[in-house]
Symmetry: C2
Subunit: 212 residues, 2 copies
DNA sequence: TTAATTGACATACGTAGCGTATGCAACTAA
DNA sequence: TTAGTTGCATACGCTACGTATGTCAATTAA
């Protein structure tokens, strides 16, 4: 018994390393995470890690891309779940902010990620989320809902804005209140992108005034 | 001779360490920068560094706050130099993007900074620039130029958008073209914040269309 | 002027943690 | 059965950080 699963044992080892690394990176951060420690915690040694991922950075990159895939899926789900396409876009942005507030994502993807994988990684990465937002904006533009803007450029700007909003919220003493402020301001920004803001200026002003 | 300057010698040593660290951090990055190497390059040893800055992080923090002060000053200058207050604000944002494209600022402040000094640092930091932008927005709101938005929240969102725009530009194969796209999209975002965009929608659409 | 003290910086040491080289056992193939 | 490959552990060296200690110049006091 326990004899057939050869491929499975290997996949299990990979999975253990991935999980252990993800946990360590997500809590104490990349620099503080000792390979000896978290591989031992997974019942393995650094030898397995070097075999499967090459080095510490390799494991980190694998963890990041795993998380990135999860984030992309979550975003796509949220966007698809809304009937209105504009609503779907706004909800997607809100979901992105919410994800970026989560400590693990915050630490691994947005904090250590750029430093470990290099500044150039920033451009190519988050490709999933950026692509998702770019598609949304393209569609909204085609539908005549948003103004004539470059979809990718706008997606990247909004992505950056979302990120900073999340970091602001996560670092705040009053996450609740800060979150409300940030989301209200974000909606105001988004409303500015619409071709005709007539029927939307009113609610925007209303929410913007609700926290003063 | 060369006898009076006691205080001066100390300041000079501090300055040498700061400059050496800044150069190393700005080129090869924090993790790759060896204290033995760059202190030796400055004609000193690690002993001096530990004496003045406590540890490697301490020196890094000093470098970051030096750069942050410089950035704040540059931003204030740009903003003050423009006659129109709206123009001053827009110019300030553009200047922020331009600064963030510079390799040293990119690497030290936006790439390694959060990872080394911790995620929480993000909130408190960039305080100079954030405060500057917040003031601008408050003024513009009081002047009736921008809509009723929370100044600090909006400042942080725009700050994040600027940052990502800069990273996108810096990592692009075609920085010139990417920069045009990013700035055009950014102007479109800013225009959306104005109370009446009548006289500004035209040029915004014009610049937005100029790169298609 | 000299003795004492402080402070600026260098030297020496211990140690953690990464990467590589090597070893071994289990599985596969001929 | 044997030869070869693969998955992972063990052993080693090296780099680089932090601390403890030493030293010399500059200040202060007598």
């Amino acid at each position: 018994m326990a004899h057939r699963p050869r491929r499975e044992m290997i996949a299990e080892t990979r999975g253990k390393l991935l999980a252990a690394g993800r946990k360590a990176f997500g809590t104490i951060g990349y620099a503080e995470a000792s390979m000896d420690d978290f591989t031992a915690e997974a019942g393995l040694t650094r030898g397995a890690l070097y075999h499967h991922f090459g080095d510490k950075k390799g494991l980190f990159a694998a963890v990041v891309s795993e998380i990135d895939a999860e984030m992309t899926k979550r975003l796509e789900d949220v966007t698809a779940q809304a009937g209105d396409s504009w609503r779907g876009f706004v909800d997607g942005c809100a979901a992105y902010i919410e994800m970026a507030v989560e400590p693990e994502i915050q630490r691994i993807v947005h904090c250590d990620g750029p430093a470990v994988l290099g500044p150039s990684w920033l451009t190519t990465s988050q490709s999933g989320c950026i692509a998702c937002m770019t598609d949304d904006i393209s569609r909204l533009k085609a539908e005549g809902i948003v103004r004539d803007v470059d979809p990718e450029a706008t997606a990247r700007l909004l992505n950056g804005a979302s990120l900073h909003a999340a970091q602001w919220i996560a670092g705040s003493d009053d996450p609740e209140g800060t979150s409300k402020k940030a989301v209200a301001a974000f909606r105001a920004l988004l409303d500015g992108l619409r071709v005709e803001a007539d029927e939307h200026v009113a609610p925007a002003v209303e929410t913007a005034a609700s926290y003063s």
